[in-house]
């Protein structure tokens, strides 16, 4: 019997336990419910049901649409901001970055409540523009998650690459589209994945901004309220699968980027 010795690996034990208790075991329960019916027998009816039910597929489309528009708007706002921040020679750059991150420190529901009042001032009656409200709320909520990775990536870009491009006769526009933009793709990808996936399920924003149409998160909730844990678990599982697919895709793209980057050099 060895005497217990403290090693670096010991430090990992709390996290391993956390993983077991809060990640692995709920997943097992999720799998169990997703592939069983009310009598506890194995079934794939929940799985096929998801793809044949016009409501779940419609909700998937609607969530996709909201998430997609949110992501695009976030990207369009965040990229210029991140670019300007990263390229500027301001002394107090970090203060500016902080300004964009600060909303994250304020309670989320408080911010959305404030947004609700502002949107009411602008729109008059919120209920007429449910889709727009959802996109505004989500953009407001997730913008910092887009700015940060973009800022990090762009500020680490090597200026000498752009100088080289200009030496070789590229104008500003060409330098941006041929050098800066391709090289900031990793930042874009990680920003997109930080925004797109939460935006598909964050139904609290919709609830608070009076959008009465379900998105994936609220659909799962309604299944559980109707005691249909099996169908609800299956939806959660399929969302998980979609997330996994995105992550794999992202990794694939990052590998590609390196080769493209290498080719450029």
């Amino acid at each position: 019997m060895h005497i217990f010795r403290f090693s670096r690996k010991t430090l990992g034990i709390p996290y391993a336990l956390f993983l077991l208790l809060f990640v692995v075991s709920p997943l097992i329960v999720l799998f169990y419910y997703a592939f069983t019916n009310g009598e506890g027998q194995f079934t794939i009816a929940n799985f096929t049901g998801f793809f044949t039910d016009p409501n779940t597929m419609g909700t998937l489309c609607y969530s996709f649409a909201i998430a997609l528009v949110t992501t695009l708007v976030c990207l369009l706002i965040a990229y210029p901001v991140a670019y300007i921040l990263a390229k500027s020679h301001l002394k107090k750059k970090s203060v500016l970055v902080m300004l964009f991150i600060m909303p994250m420190w304020i309670n989320f529901s408080l911010r959305i409540t404030a947004l609700k009042e502002i949107l009411t001032l602008i729109e008059g009656n919120l209920a007429y523009y449910p889709f727009l409200n959802a996109v505004c709320g989500m953009t407001y909520d997730f913008l910092p998650f887009m700015i940060l990775p973009l800022y990090n990536t762009i500020s680490k870009l090597d200026d000498s690459l752009i100088e080289a491009a200009k030496d070789l006769g590229a104008n500003d526009r060409a330098a941006f589209f041929k050098i800066t933009l391709p090289l900031s793709v990793p930042g874009i990808v990680s920003g997109v994945s930080m925004v797109f996936l939460p935006a598909m399920t964050n139904y609290v924003v919709l609830d608070m901004l009076y959008n009465s149409t379900y998105i994936m998160g609220s659909l799962i909730g309604s299944y559980f309220a109707a005691y249909n844990w099996h169908g609800g678990s299956m939806i959660a599982l399929i969302l998980l699968a979609i997330i996994c697919a995105f992550t794999l895709l992202r990794r694939g793209m990052e590998d590609d980027d390196q080769t493209i980057g290498g080719a450029l050099l």
């Binding site: 060895h2 217990f4 010795r5 090693s7 690996k9 010991t10 990992g12 034990i13 391993a16 336990l17 077991l20 016009p54 409501n55 779940t56 597929m57 419609g58 909700t59 489309c61 609607y62 649409a65 009042e117 009411t120 009656n125 919120l126 209920a127 007429y128 609830d207 608070m208 009076y210 009465s212 149409t213 379900y214 609220s218 659909l219 309604s222 559980f224 309220a225 109707a226 005691y227 249909n228 590609d256 080769t259 493209i260 080719a263 450029l264």
Partner: protein, 502 residues
């Protein structure tokens, strides 16, 4: 070797976890604790009991004495039980958010002794044989500590005796706690009483995007049925039929396929007409003027009206003329907690009785705004409280005599139970807290539906709330295909270029 230790450690912890999860936690603690103590696990709605800590000014100064909540009712109960029965009881008080949550908690294995679901949920629990019947002692009117049986309103007692599940009346298993009806809270400056006193306000184009409805399938279903059957429900023939209340109840609980389909179509229209399906934003949205009417439970309506009044904003409450949903929240004892433990059952029943003691019922009513099922019996304090809240000042001119005999004594004409109230109170808190006999005549309970019907209604609700894939417009499909093509082409080009560089 290190890895070995890690694996061993993990295994050890896992085994420990498994063992502890096999032993129900309370056994371990109970063994360590004094055996004499009774642990009573109560699960109630959130914010549904007096938690005490009132200001001096909040004292309710009735003629028969002051009432004030100093400590929480739960603490008071523990003290009272020890003084009355000489045994120590410890209440583990927890709360739930919706009836469905409570049901899920119970089915997942949470153990409670006494819970307070709404009528349809305790009907479901009764049908599933999960409840312990109330004991004979509980119904012994000679025992002065049996505040429930001695104080419950004859009206409520009647409902609990006459509604059955599987041949057994509710009253065998359930003791009422709070009750109320559903109605419309509205802003009288914008909406007239006639416009508000119907479920059709939900699809009234005049108030497009200015009315909210409850985000809850059962409440929405009831309102939709009321609106759809309006012509029948308000016809004189129907109203004057001798079996009116029976027929009303069967009409309002109509769950035929055809009706469900109609309700779905109606609610889809409503969805395009209302401001939102809300859970708790209704009141603040009315005060800020975003909405002019919202669907409310009477207890919440009282609270909304009170709160709005504090902001100098007058709201009214109207009971739809088609029919209103009368609901009850009642205490029931669960088999998983109480069965085979007479001490615990005694404590549970004493808890119901303690909550039913008139002064405690008043404290609860004052604190949460809902109406207690307790009328007080020989104790006049509940009626005094109603009078204290809503009775007119002596010099007021525009007053009406408001009969509440149906609730307090069972005789609608009983002259002892008239409140002389300001006329405006009929459409305000008084009309919500103690609805008029007229409104009560057109009230209907909403029963619990069997699983098949329940699934059909839930499916209907999902159909209403979800975006149907067949509704995706053609241009969206075309756009999607175009975007995918462009993306594919870009990807292809990038790959080509990559090859070129290599």
């Amino acid at each position: 070797m290190r890895k070995n230790i890690f694996v061993k450690l993990c295994a050890a912890v896992l085994i420990c976890l498994m063992i502890t999860s096999l032993i129900p936690a309370q056994d371990v603690w109970a063994a360590a604790d004094d055996k004499e103590k009774i642990v009573l696990r109560v699960c109630n709605w959130e914010e549904y009991i007096d938690l005490g800590d009132w200001d001096e000014e909040e004292t309710i100064d009735l003629e028969s004495g002051d009432i004030i909540g100093e400590n929480s009712l739960v603490e008071d109960f523990e003290e009272w039980y020890y003084e009355t029965y000489g045994k120590e009881v410890v209440v583990e008080y927890s709360t739930f958010g919706t009836n469905e949550d409570l049901y899920n908690m119970i089915t997942l294995g949470d153990v409670y002794d006494i819970v307070c679901p709404s009528e349809y949920m305790f009907m479901k629990l009764m049908a599933e044989d999960k409840l312990v019947p109330l004991s004979d002692d509980f119904f012994d009117e000679a025992d002065e500590n049996n505040y429930y049986v001695n104080g419950v309103s004859p009206y409520i007692r009647n409902v609990f005796d006459n509604h059955q599940i599987g041949g057994e009346p509710w009253s065998k298993y359930a003791a009422g706690y709070m009750w109320g009806i559903t109605g419309i809270v509205y802003n009288p400056e914008v909406v007239s009483k006639e416009e508000a006193a119907t479920w059709r306000i939900l699809d009234n184009p005049k108030f497009k995007r200015q009315v909210t409805i409850k985000d809850n399938v059962r409440d929405s279903y009831f309102a939709a049925v009321g609106a759809l059957k309006r012509d029948l429900l308000i016809s004189d023939d129907f109203k004057s039929a001798p079996d009116y209340s029976v027929r009303l109840e069967s009409e309002m609980n109509d769950v035929s396929e055809e009706t469900i389909q109609k309700v779905q179509d109606y609610l889809q229209d409503v969805k395009d007409n209302v401001y939102s399906f809300e859970t708790d934003s209704g009141k603040s949205d009315m005060v800020t003027g975003k909405v002019v009417a919202n669907y409310q439970w009477s207890g919440d309506a009282v609270y909304s009206l009170d709160q709005a009044e504090e902001d100098d904003f007058i709201l009214n409450f109207a009971v739809p003329e088609e029919s209103t949903n009368i609901y009850f929240d009642g205490w029931v004892m669960l088999k998983c907690g109480v069965e085979g433990d007479p001490d615990k059952q005694h404590a549970a029943e004493a808890f119901i009785n303690f909550c039913s003691r008139p002064d405690n019922a008043i404290r609860n009513m004052y604190y949460i705004g809902y109406t207690s099922v307790i009328a007080g019996g020989d104790d006049e304090r509940i009626f005094e409280y109603a009078d204290w809240c809503y009775g007119a000042e002596e010099d007021e001119e525009d007053v009406v005599e408001y009969p509440l005999g149906y609730f307090f004594s069972g005789d609608a004409e009983d002259e002892d139970y008239y409140i002389t109230a300001p006329a405006e109170q009929l459409d305000r808190q008084l009309g919500a807290q103690y609805p008029s006999a007229d409104a009560m005549a057109r009230s209907s309970i909403m029963v619990y539906f069997d699983n098949e019907k329940n699934d059909a209604i839930n499916q209907m609700w999902i159909n209403v709330r979800c975006f149907n894939i067949y509704d995706v417009p053609v241009w969206a499909w075309v756009l999607t295909v175009c975007v995918l093509c462009v993306l594919g082409w870009l990807f292809f080009r990038a790959k080509q270029r990559e090859k070129m560089y290599k």
